[in-house]
């Protein structure tokens, strides 16, 4: 994008050449964008029809009359088995999970990386690699013992039980470790001479320096937490802890009483579920790119 606009003035004087490669590039980009944007668009148009139409005719390309009704029902109508949970509550739960997840992971992994990089621990390298190998043990592998531990602690059906077992992050620790190692050592020494203890150095110097990194990891972890499905399904049976992702499935699966599932509502809920991650990415985009590419030192 940037370089094509920059080139234009220079090219304008000469007889215009058709730059085939530019056309090719744009074609690929346009096709890619369409591919990405069509499903949500289709979800939106389909969500504007009533359940019967959708059930009979499948996905709809045109806008129907029931958009507002479906959204309203998805957000505010109590649903589920116990008829206690509506879309707003699920949205709330998802937000708590996403934010709790991201914040918890950042705090834990920053502190772990700080300990590994800045303190002369006897087994610092070993500790790091042990943390790192947990990448090979995702939740799915250790789900039974994890569940048992949480259940014995009596943390089922709590936010703590939902969030805490998942916040240890090898990826986050790894990112922060690499970042801390690239911070010049003299900075820590200067701070030492300036009378800043380990805690002050962390809060006053390292945390502000890491803010782009924090933003980048926040995005990744928020989306990760937001999309959690398996763990919440296992750990919460109380419907008041349902997240949006579970709620969608709940609607689609409710074949009870020979009713047609409320496909329109499910799609409306799916769209609602997409908005926060998208918003966060758009909001943090600049920092995200900065955090992953440049070092602000």
């Amino acid at each position: 994008m940037a370089d094509t606009t920059l080139e234009t003035p220079a090219v304008a004087h000469r007889p215009r050449k058709i730059r085939w490669h530019a056309i090719g590039d744009h074609l690929v980009l346009i096709l890619g964008s369409l591919l990405m944007i069509l499903p949500p668009l289709l979800a939106l148009t389909t969500a504007s029809h009533d359940a019967v139409t959708i059930h009979r005719e499948g996905l709809q390309l045109t806008l129907g009359d029931d958009l507002g009704k479906n959204f309203h029902a998805a957000m505010f109508e109590k649903g589920g088995f116990t008829q206690t949970v509506d879309g707003t509550l699920m949205l709330m739960n998802s937000l708590i999970l996403g934010i709790g997840f991201a914040v918890g992971k950042i705090v834990i992994s920053m502190m772990a990386a700080y300990a590994i990089v800045y303190f002369r621990l006897r087994f610092a390298t070993l500790a790091f690699w042990v943390i790192f190998t947990t990448l090979l043990l995702p939740l799915e592998v250790r789900i039974l013992p994890s569940y048992e531990a949480i259940q014995k602690l009596g943390l089922t059906n709590t936010y703590t039980g939902l969030i805490v077992p998942l916040i240890a992050s090898a990826t986050g620790t790894f990112f922060f470790r690499q970042f801390f190692m690239s911070v010049p050592e003299e900075l820590a020494e200067a701070a030492r001479i300036d009378g800043a203890g380990p805690w002050k150095f962390f809060i006053d110097i390292l945390v502000p320096l890491s803010r782009t990194m924090i933003a980048a990891i926040f995005i990744i972890m928020f989306v990760f937490g937001w999309n959690q499905y398996l763990w919440p399904t296992l750990i919460t049976t109380d419907e008041s802890f349902f997240t949006l992702v579970r709620g969608i499935k709940q609607i689609v699966l409710s074949y009870t009483d020979g009713q047609i599932p409320e496909h329109g509502q499910a799609l409306a809920l799916a769209i609602v579920a997409m908005i926060p991650p998208v918003a966060i990415v758009i909001f943090f985009q600049n920092w995200f790119v900065k955090g992953l590419t440049e070092s602000d030192k």
Binding site: P184, E189, A190, A191, D194, G195, D204
Partner: protein, 348 residues
């Protein structure tokens, strides 16, 4: 303000490498001492031991009357300027300079006043609200100085503070640092590998080589009476000429050539003869032939590189002296001759 004394200070790393051999010297109150030597000679390690950033393996370090071996860097009453300045990138100049005071619980109003004072002294007043990234190299250097000055420490430590600056700025900052240190009267230890910096800034120079002190002395002593061939070739640009020679019955004889000069010592046998390039004169009647291969024009001076008795040799002449390539004759000033032991390299 304080005197600093090192008594038998050694540094051995856990892997057994001895970075600094047992070292004794005293830095007088208000003195500007430069530690100079090639890379890896232990000068930075020595400085970092004084700062407390590196543990002292053995020996006693005193700042003032206090033994500070086990005192935290923050409590040694020192300030350090780093090669890469080590400014806090996210803080404004004002906060950078005031950070050390803030950590020591100085009241905000006092910090503000002291920071203003330091900034005025260093011409930084207009930049107080900028971040380090918005400053030039020289200004960053000044901020680093400000951070040291503002705390009014007993001792300044400089770790190659000018090596990231371009040549012109370096000359200017050299003078500024020296003037500032004079004005404040604070004891300073300055590490550099640049012999020009050492010569121009120091009250006393300590020349280090491979973890050992080669010589301690004023710039003039070091320049005129180097204690070893190492000091002779390290200090001064171009370095002192060192050629193989012989002393025979009180006369110096240069190998492969029969030119004879009175020897300044009574030693006998093979020696290394040293003479500064500027202590040699082109002289049609001179006793020594000198083959000029390359002529370097430096403006105020000319450097003639060539061979004397088959050994590389350099002569520095003033711009108003004529010089030609090829065969010349020269005279060596007898009082400028220095003789070194061929084996140990120490002065005779």
């Amino acid at each position: 303000m304080a005197q600093v004394s090192l008594e038998g200070i050694r540094k051995v790393y856990p892997n057994g490498f001895q970075a600094v051999e047992a070292t004794d010297f005293t830095i007088r109150d208000g003195e500007f001492v430069v530690l100079v030597g090639p890379s890896g000679c232990g000068k930075s390690t020595l400085l970092r031991m004084i700062a407390g950033l590196e543990d002292i393996t053995e020996g006693t370090l005193k700042i003032g009357d206090r033994v500070v071996n086990d005192v935290d860097p923050a409590d040694r009453d020192i300030a350090m300027v780093f090669q890469n300045y080590a400014l806090y990138p996210h803080m404004t100049v004002r906060r950078n300079i005031g950070y050390g005071l803030k950590n020591r619980g100085t009241p905000a109003s006092e910090i503000a006043a002291k920071v203003e004072d330091a900034a005025r002294m260093l011409n930084l007043t207009d930049y107080l609200d900028r971040k380090p990234a918005q400053l030039s190299g020289g200004q960053r250097q000044r901020v680093a100085m400000g951070r040291a000055v503002v705390r009014d420490p007993a001792l300044f430590l400089f770790d190659e503070p000018l090596s990231n600056l371009d040549a012109k700025l370096r000359n200017q900052m050299r003078i500024e640092i020296k003037a500032l240190q004079r004005r404040l009267g604070t004891t300073a230890v300055y590490v550099t590998h640049d012999q020009v910096e050492a010569m121009t800034m120091a009250d006393r120079i300590i020349v280090l080589n491979a973890g050992r002190i080669e010589q301690i002395g004023t710039p003039s002593e070091i320049y005129h009476n180097p204690a070893s061939t190492f000091v002779a070739s390290f200090m001064g640009a171009p370095p002192m000429n060192l050629i193989a020679a012989q002393v025979d019955r009180g006369q110096v004889r240069i190998n492969g050539y029969d030119g004879i000069m009175p020897a300044p010592t009574s030693a006998n046998g093979p020696v290394t003869l040293g003479i500064r390039p500027e202590d040699i004169e082109l002289d049609g009647q001179g006793s020594v032939p000198f083959q000029v291969d390359i002529l370097e024009e430096l403006g105020a001076h000319r450097l003639l590189h060539g061979q004397l008795a088959g050994q590389p040799f350099t002569v520095l002449i003033n711009k108003d002296h004529a010089a030609q390539m090829g065969e010349n004759r020269i005279t060596l000033k007898p009082e400028a001759l220095r003789l070194f032991d061929t084996e140990t390299g120490r002065t005779l």
